[in-house]
């Protein structure tokens, strides 16, 4: 299993895993694409094939967890049908409760049971009692957070009368299990996807080119930017920074403000490249087959406020929480105090969705605080009649400040290194790094205001890739469409040649196969 660089727990990559950045996928996808083309005339056979391929794709991780997908699929299929037939409020509520209970129950059990058991035991011990709740060390089923949210949104939308139940079980099962988005999103809404299945959409030639373009662009974000920055910059820094301040033998050289700044920015670039790259490959894969998945990232680092950033980052999740948590809580309709409470609650839950750990909850809380701060500033400006500054320098400063806050908060998202991530000599001595030592080390390094050198092990190409990643973000903000259009205007042969060269770049940089970070959520 490959380490995810301090983001331990959850599934890692085995040689047999079919990651988007694996050769197995490079063979799987063309086979699926060609068969999909052949079967297009027979919609039922096409969907059955895509469903089978999706389950095969998922079973590569662990076939035993297919049972969970089937449970979620079957329960919500019947809940949807029941909601479609019944007019009685009590029955409808019971049906919705069944969907919520099964989906959130599965998610809660597999993802959060150990966290709550450990936290409860620690709490009991802190007050002098003995905590005996069992810790089960369960393996987290890949994608459970994503497909349970998809099926939940289906049942809730039918309950609210905004969606008609799916007519075909096959369509519904494919909506839940469609392989491009099954394990890490984007979280697709039934209202967007089921009509595409009913229409039996097929890709036009330009959509195939567009899809391949998105796949390669996503792979470059993941393999060339995120993995290089993650393995060659972030890992040497984050795995050692706690030791640098807690173990006198380690040495502080390189763990100063320069290293900390690079690592803090580096982790944001890594996680963005990793997840946006994954989403782009998923969207491109679906596009090649004629399906459209929702955009998941829209240049988040160019946002001018934290609130805007969260409308550009993991859009399918942010909008899910907006529609199914924030608005039902009252949204911004019940006064400023309630609005702030709702923002904070939504972000805390979003933090917990990302992982069962206190660092994720703190991370969510700080994001919520950022949004509340933005809101407060906006209302204050409106009250005093001060116009927002919109000049180029002001915009650049706003973007820099927003990104700076996001990056510092994101560094909390990264957990302390596990024992096996530490240098061998410390492993042998049984040294571990506590969260206090890890985060304390990080912020002490940042606030030393000296030592601008790089820590040992950080490699220059990673620093170059970090800046390349940021530059790409700026270029794609202003020129993304132009570049894509220029590519799509080329003859297909030239497109193929460029894609091959891009694949060469991906192959060249893929020295190790690093799993996608969001698989563990």
């Amino acid at each position: 299993m490959l380490s995810t660089g301090g983001l331990q727990s959850g599934p890692g990559a085995r040689s047999s895993d079919m990651l988007f950045n694996s050769i197995a996928y490079l063979l799987f996808f063309p086979a699926v694409l060609l068969t999909d083309m052949v079967l297009h005339r027979w919609p039922w056979a096409r969907k059955a094939f895509l469903l089978g391929a999706s389950y095969f794709f998922y079973a590569n991780w662990d076939w035993r967890f297919l049972g969970l997908i089937w449970t979620s699929t079957i329960v919500d299929w019947f809940v949807g049908r029941g909601l479609g037939r019944s007019e009685r409020p009590r029955t409808r509520k019971l049906l919705l409760a069944a969907s919520l209970g099964v989906n959130l129950g599965l998610l809660g059990f597999y993802k959060y049971f150990d966290f709550f058991a450990e936290s409860a035991n620690a709490l009991l011990e802190s007050v002098g009692l003995e905590g005996h709740l069992p810790v089960l060390r369960l393996l987290l089923p890949v994608g459970i957070s994503f497909y349970t949210f998809q099926t939940l949104s289906y049942s809730i939308d039918i309950y609210r009368g905004r969606l008609a139940p799916a007519r075909s079980f096959l369509d519904f099962a494919l909506f839940v299990g469609f392989f491009p988005q099954l394990v890490a999103g984007p979280i697709v809404r039934a209202a967007d996807f089921l009509p595409q299945l009913r229409q039996n959409r097929r890709a036009r030639p330009y959509e195939i080119s567009r899809g391949l373009y998105e796949i390669l662009a996503g792979l470059i974000k993941k393999v060339v930017i995120a993995d290089v920055v993650g393995n060659q910059l972030n890992r040497p820094f984050y795995d050692h920074v706690g030791l640098a301040f807690s173990e006198p033998t380690h040495g502080l050289e390189g763990f100063g403000t320069g290293g900390a700044l690079l690592a803090i920015v580096g982790f944001s670039v890594q996680i963005y490249g990793d997840f946006a790259g994954y989403s782009q490959v998923a969207i491109g894969t679906a596009r090649c087959m004629g399906f459209r998945l929702p955009t998941n990232f829209r240049n988040p680092f160019m946002a001018r406020t934290t609130a805007e950033l969260w409308t550009r980052w993991h859009i399918s999740l942010s909008s899910w929480f907006r529609d199914y948590l924030y608005i039902p809580l009252g949204g911004n309709r019940s006064g400023e105090g309630r609005t702030r409470r709702n923002v904070m609650l939504t972000n805390l839950v979003s933090g917990l969705w990302h992982g069962a750990g206190w660092n994720f909850i703190v991370w969510g809380g700080l994001n919520g605080a950022g949004i509340v701060w933005n809101r407060r500033s906006r209302l204050r400006r409106e009250r005093l009649g001060i116009a927002r500054r919109d000049g180029p320098v002001a915009q650049a400063c706003q973007r820099l400040a927003t990104f700076g806050y996001f990056a510092v908060v994101m560094s909390i998202f990264r957990r302390p290194p596990s024992a096996s991530d530490l240098p061998v000599e410390f492993q042998r001595q049984g040294v571990t790094v506590t969260p206090g030592e890890h985060y304390g080390g990080l912020f002490r390094a940042l606030l030393r205001f000296d030592d601008w050198s790089l820590p040992a092990g950080v490699q220059t190409p990673a620093v170059l890739m970090l800046f390349a990643g940021l530059a790409l973000e700026v270029i794609s903000f202003y020129r993304s469409r132009d570049i894509r259009r220029a590519f799509l205007r080329l003859p297909p042969e030239a497109q193929g040649a460029l894609l091959l060269l891009a694949l060469g770049l991906v192959g060249q940089m893929a020295t190790t196969r690093t799993p996608f970070i969001y698989f563990q959520f």
Binding site: S15, S16, S22, I23, A24, L26, L33, M37, V38, H40, R202, A203, R204, P205, I208, S209, L212, V424, E425, T460, P461, P491, P492, E493, A494, Q495, G496, A497, L498, L499, L500, L501, L503, G504, L505, G507, Q508, M509, A510
Partner: protein, 337 residues
């Protein structure tokens, strides 16, 4: 399928043309090996294959033989002893596997070229456990051609298949690597001089650790971790195939057990080395080769100063060993030949 399949085929045709062109360009411009830390050795393999001069001996193995056999020293001694020019190649590759030996024997060797093929007998080359290392993919990453990949497709696992597919696109990879290589060339050259053994193993850890020899009780209790030794049928077949190729081409196969540091023996479970030596000697005989066990000969025991660590020889040790190897083993064999 309408217009979609022709469109896809046109994209594929463009990709295939770019692949061929990039590979051709990389090969003509000598960029093929840019992406590897073992560039010099892979280039040596290429030079050996392209050359037409007589060759007396080719050494192959992992970093053990790469570090132990110094071609210049051996050539010098052989010249003195045989009274003619001698030519020796060390084509050892760190972390590599016996598959590369079969590739050499099958694809690179010709009738009587070389006269001797000196193959390493060490747990590092013959241990099936090592297949998962990057070096274990050397053959598939760098040498396998499309036909070989297609022919042996059913026996390839994901890692080897990945390496083979990456290898097919080596031209595009090399072109991308060029700017990085040029930018880092001074550091790479300096690092290579400073650390000629390469970075294929974490020897520093072993060097600083004073491990006692494991005994059976410790192992049973799981107190000591030892290097695993797995000898498997596939490697036996490779050794037999190498022997068969050598016999067909008139090449003498010598399987050489290099003198080891006593500490290395202790890193394996008791009896593992004896098991390995027995396995190699039996199979070498079956392959029609000669097994030379210098490790079992007290007269060949080396001093601590002859080792860089517990596995590799120091430059002084390697030169001393190479001289003696030329005098006592290679020269008599070449005279017989």
């Amino acid at each position: 399928m309408g217009r979609r399949l022709p469109h896809l085929l046109r994209i594929a045709a463009g990709g295939a043309a770019a692949l061929l062109l990039a590979n051709l360009l990389a090969d003509v411009a000598g960029l093929r090996w840019l992406g590897t830390g073992d560039r010099e050795h892979l280039m040596a393999v290429q030079q050996f294959a392209d050359g037409d001069r007589d060759v007396d001996a080719v050494f192959y193995g992992t970093s053990v033989s790469r570090n132990a056999a110094v071609p210049l020293v051996i050539e010098e001694r052989l010249r003195d002893l045989l009274g003619r020019e001698a030519r020796v190649w060390n084509l050892g590759l760190p972390g590599s596997t016996p598959e590369v030996a079969r590739f050499y024997a099958r694809e690179l060797f010709r009738r009587d070229r070389p006269r001797l093929f000196v193959l390493e007998a060490s747990p590092f080359l013959w241990n099936a456990h090592r297949v998962d290392s990057q070096g274990g993919l050397t053959y598939w990453r760098w040498f396998a051609d499309p036909l070989d990949v297609a022919r042996r497709l059913p026996e390839l696992d994901t890692a080897r298949l990945s390496a083979a597919i990456r290898g097919l696109n080596h031209g595009a990879e090399a072109l991308w690597n060029l700017p990085f290589y040029l930018a880092r060339r001074p550091q790479l050259d300096a690092a290579r001089l400073e650390n000629p053994r390469g970075g294929n193993y974490d020897y520093e850890v072993l060097w600083h650790e004073d491990l006692p020899a494991p005994d059976e009780r410790d192992l049973r209790r799981g107190r000591r971790r030892v290097r695993p030794l797995v000898l498997e049928e596939a490697w036996r077949r490779v050794l037999l195939a190498v022997g068969e190729e050598c016999r067909r081409k008139g090449i003498r196969l010598v399987v050489l057990h290099y003198p080891k540091h006593p500490r290395l023996v202790r890193e394996f479970a008791p009896g593992d080395h004896r098991r390995l030596v027995r396995w190699i000697s039996e199979n070498t005989r079956a392959a029609g080769g000669v097994f030379v066990d210098l490790d079992g000969d007290p007269a060949w025991a080396l001093q601590d100063a002859d080792f860089r660590d517990f596995v590799h020889y120091s430059p002084t040790g390697a030169r001393r060993f190479s001289r003696r190897l030329a005098e006592e083993i290679l020269a008599p064999m070449l005279r017989d030949d």
